[in-house]
Amino acid sequence: MTSITTFAYGLTVRATGLITAAHAWTSLEPTFDFFDLLFLRKRKGTLQSRLSGPTREAIIGKVPVEVWEEIRKWVLVIEMEDKEDSLIRQFSIPCGDEDCNCQGVTKVTWELLKQGTSYCVSLEWLSHGVSLGEFLDRFSSGYGDAIEVSRCRSSS
C-alpha cells in the first residue's frame, strides 16, 4: 500500500487536453521564442524585416501587436489540432473499409472518442496494437516512482 499527499496552489484540468498541449509544445516552443522576441522588439520599436523595398519594410514594423497575437493563436490552434490527431492515431490501425463512416473523419479528437460508438474509429479501432487505453492507464497509475520528486524550477 502506497499513499501520497500533495499540497499545492492550483486547479484541475482535463488531462487529455493537457497531454495534447504538452505534445504540441515541442513544436510550438521555438515559435513562442520567436514571438517573444518579436513582441520585445515591437515594444522597443526596433522590429525590422529583411524584405526588400522600403514599403514592405515599413509595413512589417507597423503591424500591431494584436495582429501578431492573433497569428500566434492560430499557429497554436492548428498545431494543437494536428498533434491531437496524430497522437491518437499512433495507437490505432485504420479499419481500411471504404464504406466505413470513419473514412469521413479527417481529424481524430478526444471528443470524438468520448462520443464513442457511432464511429468505428472509437474503441474497437483503437484497441489494436499499443492501445490508447494502456497509454492512458499508465498515465493514471503513476508509472515508475509516483512519489518521485519533480525538480523545482524557478518561475519566470
Binding site: M1, R14, A15, I147
Partner: protein, 157 residues
Amino acid sequence: MISILVFQLIERLTARFGLAHPLARQITYNEEWLDLDGVALISLPCRISPQEHTTISAGAEHDNGGRDQHTIVDVSLNVPPDADARFVRFIHLFDLEVVQVTHSVIEVTRPQWKKRESVTRGSDQWRGVAGIESDKVKVTKEIKPGWKLYTSCWYSS
C-alpha cells in the same frame, strides 16, 4: 516509455508559463479502461526549503517491519502576486477544460467541531473525506486556482 515522456513534456510546458505539474499521474475517478475523464493538477511550482524537494515523504520504505515514520513541515501560504494571472493565461492559451472535482473544504474559522470533542471517538470519526464523487464533478468556465490537498492511495505490487 511513452508515459514517462508525457510527464517530461508536461513539466517543460508548465515551467515555461511559471507553473508546474506536481503529480506523476493523472487523477481518475471512473473505472473505465479508456478513461478520457481523468484530470491533471496544475499548480504553482513550489519547494520545501531548504531542500530542493517538492514533496514530503515519511520514508517508510518497507512493508514489513521497522518503526513508523512521520514527517511534518510548516506551510507558507504566500503566493506570488501574478499567480492567478498565470493560470488564466495558460488555460486560455491552450483552451484547457477546467474541471472541478473537489467537494469539501478544510476550514479553521468555524468552531462547531469543538462540540464533538467530548464524545468518545468511534472508528467512524477517524474516517476522513474519501474519494471523488462523480456527480459532484463539473466543468467550469471559472479559472479560480486555490490551495488543494490531494491524497492518493494505491496497492503497489
